[in-house]
Amino acid sequence: MLRILRDLLRYNRGFGLGCFLLLLVAGMAALSAVSPYPPLDVYVVPPDMPPSAEFILGTTSRGQDVFWQLTLAIRNTLLFGITVAVLSRIISLTVGLLAGYLGGAVDRVLMSVNDTFIIIPLFPILVLFYFVMRDNMSWTMLAVVTASLGWSYDARLIRSMAMSLRTREFTHQAVFSGMRAPEVVLREHLPYVLPIVFSTTMNNMNWSIGLEVTLSVLGFTDINTPTIGGMIYWANQHAAMVSGIWWWVAFPVALVVCLFVGLFLLAVSMNEYIDPRSRLARTGGAG
């Protein structure tokens, strides 16, 4: 594992850059643990101070230190992305692999549910959800709802792979070795699907973070949990751009862009590395 990491860092510039950006973002998020200010307290520092030696990223009109506020916001945003990705991966893998492997009625039922999720418009649903929940809308709730809306495309992709894997001879070999469906799916098919899952995880995180930022900027989320979108929301509420408090908006945006680009680069380079064909060629399978 360490050797793979070393090889990737040495031979893939995209991977190196992606790692660097993500480390930067993760480092910021980690610093939230040592934040000197409670996250929701306001007017703890002088408001509207530009970046300086004392407040390296300046302060907000609400009297919060942008740097420390940002550490918390990125932590929450990152956690949100990871939670959504993990939850939706679990759903899409289960649905995709089972539908593809079992086929028949199971496939038809699962895929009709899947297609329903594909065609329903996400954004209006989420906005509607906010209006229904109002004050009960919490960070966790939003993550669960986003995850349950974000698995369907990948499930279809995984299903199509599982369908072709099912007809391969080694699947029959596994069946006649006495393995049951869950074992076949987990031990024989999952390794083939994982590269796709890795790459779509990154994409899914990008998607869900983008969605969260959009909703927050519009104020359709729980604004009491600081997130990147939440910061921009408050900046807009205080007309930060108009009054020249650019650092309130620019730094959160820059950081989230770092996160997007980092995830994207990682997805691309990991995909290239994990692809079974290139992996086989490396270990001597082809030739």
Partner: protein
């Protein structure tokens, strides 16, 4: 009296169909019986599209026949649906696949299929017991666990892999192996090792083998009985030697006549003499003999 090992009664299978769609008949009215206590190599011969692979899938209970019944030791395969019944069936009937490189997951080590089979069919608990079962089965095919432990499929030759696949199929102690083109993807120098192995399984372990192939020469070499299929129907059946030496049905005759002989065509006598003039008489013992004697591949 004992029930036949396997009995096919008027098996048929069609694909496609439905409203206004063309229906293709893959297999039509195939019947034959393999007796218990008389192990044999039973060859099913046919060209691509003759329905022989569909037939194999039906015998393995992977596809249900459209018409007719398949009885294994008197029990209709259609009634085998519960997991426990399926496992009991797999205990007695095991497949050998065509492409040994495809039959093992290229990303996984080959020995784990042996352990899984030992675990599920012999109840061997723990790695030590499973390894013992695997090693025992591998010895039956002329390999040992030491040779294949921890290997990936691409590290073994096609012949070795196919023998590992056969060893795996032997672990449950089956009475019947269904081998669909088991040697067509194996290199010529290794092919006979696998073919000879089938013969030994029949003679020493009493396993019956359904050998599905398009290759008449290997079918002649190992089979006891054969059936020849054309477009899903059996056109000729009987003793392997008789059918292949003196085919009766026009299609069998055509098939037999189309087999290219590996021996060079006889040249004009004069030309042959000229070609061999000045060449010392055979300095070798019969070519294969010295090699065959040393071949420790199958003990």
């Amino acid at each position: 009296m004992s029930l036949p090992l396997l009995e096919l009664r008027g098996i048929g299978k069609s694909y496609g169909g439905g409203w206004l769609r063309h229906r293709t008949r893959a297999v039509h009215d195939v019947s034959f019986t393999l007796e218990t206590g008389r192990p044999e190599v039973f060859a099913i011969i046919g060209e691509s599209g003759s329905g022989k692979s569909t037939l194999a899938r039906m015998i393995l209970n992977a596809t249900a026949p459209g018409e007719g019944q398949i009885l294994f030791r008197g029990r209709d395969l259609a009634t085998i649906r519960r997991a426990a019944d399926r496992r009991a069936f797999m205990q007695a009937v095991q497949p050998v696949f065509q492409n040994p490189f495809e039959a093992f997951n290229p990303l996984k080590r080959v020995d784990r299929y042996l352990y899984a089979t030992a675990h599920h069919f012999t109840g061997a608990q723990g790695r030590v017991a499973q390894e013992a079962k695997a090693d025992e089965a591998l010895h039956k095919v002329g390999l040992s666990l030491a040779e294949i432990r921890g290997r990936f499929p691409h590290e073994l030759s096609g012949g070795q892999l196919q023998r590992v696949a056969i060893a795996r199929a032997l672990i449950p102690g089956p009475a019947l192996l269904v081998a669909d083109e088991p040697v067509s993807m194996i290199d010529a120098s290794l092919r006979m090792t696998v073919v000879n192995l089938f013969r030994r399984l029949r003679d020493e372990l009493g396993v019956s083998i359904i050998y599905i192939t398009h290759d008449l020469a290997t079918a002649y070499y190992i089979s006891d009985r054969i059936i020849i299929m054309q477009r899903g129907e059996v056109v000729e059946a009987g003793d392997a030697r008789r059918v292949l030496m003196a085919p009766q049905h026009p299609y069998s005759i055509l098939l037999r006549a189309s087999v290219l002989s590996a021996d060079p065509p006889e040249a004009d006598a004069a030309e042959a003499d000229a070609a061999e003039a000045g060449v010392p008489a055979q300095p070798w013992s019969p070519a294969g003999a010295s090699l065959a004697a040393r071949s420790g591949d199958v003990p």
